[in-house]
Symmetry: C2
Subunit: 308 residues, 2 copies
């Protein structure tokens, strides 16, 4: 049997400060968030999604976006990004000097309507001025595609249909698409189908990010399946912030340390220091006042080194 | 790229009642254990490790082995097995009419001495009369090989050294070897190395069982890597009994429902009803008085069906 090689390097995008904290009940003080982000930057994460320029009415946990960006020290090797739901959010992001933003849509109409009160097509229209402003300002844009592998309302998702929306995001001007298993139902065969469909729709591997959730314990198996297909860009949340083993509705983010442990074991370079991520996670765990679910965060890497 | 096929079927051996409960602080009443085992048998698990005929002095949680076996109803399609540490344990097992037993050694001297107060060689010698009695009684024997992928005391384990001990278990007369990642440090590349070494040492895939721990979240990725290599027999613990996300020393057993969810998603038949396993897990969770960590136990399968 031919043994496949893994990509020599992978990009890990840290979404704990935004996606993670958005899914936590506790509203964390700006100071603790800033320490969290600084710690993650010091760990070498190439991109950190810091916050969202959404109305605090909707997401009080992220109501301090401007203040948080103001507090961050310069980290030349880290891109600090932010979610922007619309043109107004984009204006706020530009005013903060944000160099990368993310827009957010879904693979299914039901999830789009429930999440954003708009059809998929309406969300894409909403993004046009955002993409135009980004282009004018030289700001990079990521497009999030949630429920790409399954929808809590519509059930199984047609891979080709999801891929079409991903392609539309690229056509609108997004630099990359982060394809999400929002409810953590994907298994490796379904992941492969999804990746095949993406490429067939003209969404290449090098512009695709995988955003797996670990709600059912399959996230790392899905990462492995993606690596084998040549995909090398993944989202994760330090310490598993936003996930909760005992409340299945709560996010289920893949923990960054768990992802790093797998990648290191496979000999895939990330440039990220796992111990420093754990350190940053300790701080945010204290601020949240609850135990974080990340396994390698808690157990540490192998007592001696990752098993290669 | 050639797409590998997965095995069409896999055997899932349920070790919750023995390996799981052995790692729980709570001593569960025999009645609750019997209900647990009955529920698991009704779910269709082909083999259930019911208890251990070890001295209750050492493992009080399993001090009721005879009583438990006495309470079990006949289940023609389920093999009820038990751990036996030595000849005395074997006598007790035979007296209960047990049809399959398991003996237990380690890949490293340090773990063997700490766990059993004997060198690996001494444990193998101890098994000779057990294997002889098994052969005479027509009883099947499994050999457990712990710390096969890494040792908490010795660090990385040489795959060839571990494979040699596995081979010795087969030479002694064991029908199969269950190779364990006791401290949950293995990642897929290391798993592959281990499986290669086993086959090179004359331990074929169809006599090998994989016993992964999920201490670092890698269990299902390691299962996937094993399936791809043609391995189709795995141990797991219903509900994740014996594992604990917040106490890294505590077992880390792979939850049976999580394993089943992955296998079903991959189209690998097991003959096991996931919902019935969840039901059995609910009962033992109540008896243990703590929340079990199994993810699919808690979250359920996909809201509609496994995503294939």
């Amino acid at each position: 049997m031919t043994r496949r090689a893994y990509p020599p390097r992978a990009v890990v995008t840290e979404v704990g400060p935004r996606d993670g904290l958005q899914n936590e009940k506790e509203v964390v003080p700006t100071e603790a968030k800033a320490a969290f982000v600084e710690g993650l930057a010091e760990a070498g994460l190439p991109e950190i999604e810091v916050s969202s320029f959404v109305s605090p009415k909707w997401v009080p946990q992220l109501g301090d976006a401007e203040e948080l960006f103001r507090r961050l020290r310069p980290h030349p090797r880290t891109v600090f990004s932010a979610l922007v739901p619309n043109e107004r959010g984009m204006e706020r992001a530009l005013a903060c000097g944000v160099r990368k933003v993310a827009v957010f849509t879904a693979a299914t109409e039901s999830f789009s309507r429930r999440n954003t009160n708009a059809s998929v097509e309406e969300t894409l229209e909403r993004f046009r001025p955002v993409l135009a402003a980004a282009r004018a300002a030289g700001v990079a844009v990521r497009g999030y595609l949630s429920t790409a592998f399954g929808c809590p309302f519509e059930g199984p998702v047609d891979p080709a249909a999801a891929a079409r929306v991903a392609r539309e995001l690229l056509d609108l001007g997004c630099d990359e698409v982060s394809v999400g298993d929002t409810i953590g139902v994907a298994t490796p065969g379904r992941v492969r189908e999804g990746l095949d469909a993406l490429r067939e729709a003209g969404v290449p591997a090098d512009r695709t990010v995988l955003h797996f959730h670990d709600t059912r314990g399959t996230a790392l198996a899905n990462v492995l399946a993606s690596l084998v297909e040549g995909y090398a860009s993944f989202d994760s949340s330090a310490g598993g912030v936003g996930g909760c083993p005992y409340a299945p509705g709560a996010g289920g983010n893949l923990a960054t340390e768990d992802l790093l442990f797998l990648l290191e074991g496979l000999g895939v370079e990330t440039g990220v220091d796992l111990e420093k991520v754990r350190n940053a996670s300790r701080g945010i765990e204290a601020a949240l006042g609850r135990q974080l679910p990340g396994k390698v965060f808690r157990a540490g890497p192998a007592p001696w080194a990752p098993v290669r």
